[in-house]
Amino acid sequence: MSSLFTVLAGKSADTFKLGGIEFQAAPVTLREYGEYLASQEGSIADQTVWLADKLKRRLQNATKTDPEEITPDWVLDNLPLPFMKIVNHILLYGEMPKESSEKKA
């Protein structure tokens, strides 16, 4: 039941860590995801600008970390390319990818 309310509110109970900073796994809206798909056709800089903007709003503890710290450059430094797929999944579905489904695939 509690998961129902987090879904309706567009939030998530899960968190994930990047470069020692904790972020909420809240899903993006379809409009934002459309912007992301459009940015994928551009350079990698376009993608990091989008990612930095979304991660900035998903800081778990905004008092601990200054949101201004999360810049496109910070994303490039702290987000290894293999993790890109996981972060994609988190921002779309609002939860960590399930291990069982990964093993099947």
Binding site: V7, L8, G10, A26, P27, V28, T29, L30, R31, Y33, G34, L92, Y93, G94
Partner: protein, 163 residues
Amino acid sequence: MVWDVLGVNGWTLAQVMDLTFPQLLFIQRGRGRILYARLEPQIQANLANLSAKPGSNGEPSEAQKIIDRWQQRKANITTPPTQEEKTLAYARRILLAPYLGDPDVVEPEAEQASHVKPFPGMGVDEAQAWVAYVRARKCPDNVWLEIGDVYPAIYMAAQVKRE
């Protein structure tokens, strides 16, 4: 998937685009579109059976019966329930006991309401007119200030059975 939701709920594309993907899945599973779209054909079928033709034995038509019942409710004319209706209501109340509590326990508020005495010297017709007036939301505030305190008594006077 987006088109599925758009065609059912009458939502605009902009509204759907502002949903997150889990929200869209939630709606698409059907939980968000339960009532109107599914019941609309049934409602229309029920309304199609309704006719304004009077019956062969001089009975009022179905439509006329509905209108009469509605006007009785508006004028606050209540007919006492038959024994059958009382039994049915009591059995239903027992089935709903997990949600509404023990049916045999009289709530203190209901008990208090029964102690309100009908407004002295006011006829049934006059009281029913007052109640209809208030229920139709025609009562201005300055009048309500005058009668608000005694309205329960007026309401009880409207419930007095005609002899």
